[in-house]
Symmetry: C2
DNA sequence: TTCTCACTTGAACAATTGTGCAATCGATGA
DNA sequence: TCATCGATTGCACAATTGTTCAAGTGAGAA
């Protein structure tokens, strides 16, 4: 997969004078955390699964409820829940004949709401930077 | 793509008595925000791209620096940056002959650090729920 | 203007991921 | 015990995504 054969050979070919400085930037986080975090994001990064999460954020629901609510088959919903559960995003418990799902913890709920909030707005501004079009203030 | 033909026909086949209540749960967020948020997550949900973000979180860098630091080709890095930029996660500006990239805003930075923090720990506990193994306290 | 450097883009292939059907599991009730 | 209901899983197919090479762009130097 994608891997740096030698991550510490950070010796840019562009001369230091052209940049601000060059303090040999370190990875900041270990590869395992990076992998874990990205798997978490990818699990949430699907409209169908995120919609499930937004419903579970209001309280636990059983698979049948979710299936009817989504207009999808039991199997389809179950598969999506499986992905979310494999990343410890949601948890389940049996309730009589049904199995209820809920968000794993407040941490996850914050993440979901944070992203949904971020999706509504689009501020994005920083001195000297552009983000709108392709070549806006690139001189 | 994945879409409910009729999202408001939420009438579960399982009887209400078996559940706590059934207040006809609403979508909570609109489809557009859901789509936007999930695209954002998916863009971050890749180890290689998340690693780039973790480096940009320490300050802006030019493409060549990133390429050397990652041990990848310019093209590869540029493609990854393109994905991140298409979701307004990062912004760029020209610095002489080089093009520097940086995180778009504090919002994004919070998201990244939040996830990396989340990846390090694994608390996940809630009354009545299990999250560890498959069938722990299912009955 | 022309050349070169720094970077971007297009396109094709490989790899990963999502979907739906059918078979299966597991708990409850007869 | 057996039948049934709710939910999960395996598998195959389709769709999406990541990677790489080669060609292209655009700003600055000659």
């Amino acid at each position: 997969m994608t891997q740096s054969p030698d991550p510490d050979s950070a010796e840019p070919s562009c001369t230091p004078e052209e940049h601000i400085a060059k303090p040999a930037r370190k990875p900041l986080v270990d590869e395992v955390s990076l992998e874990t975090a990205s798997r978490l994001f990818r699990a949430i990064g699907d409209p169908a699964r995120l919609r499930l999460l937004s419903k579970l954020a209001q309280g636990e629901m059983c698979v049948t409820e979710l299936a009817v609510s989504e207009g999808e088959s039991l199997s389809t919903i179950s598969q999506r829940l499986r992905v979310l559960r494999s990343e410890n995003i949601i948890v389940r418990r049996r309730q009589g004949k049904h199995i209820s799902y809920g968000l794993a913890d407040q941490h996850v709920m914050d993440l979901v709401f944070n992203a949904l909030a971020h999706a509504s707005e689009r501020p994005v501004s920083m001195p000297g930077f552009s983000s709108k079009s392709e070549k806006e203030d690139l001189t």
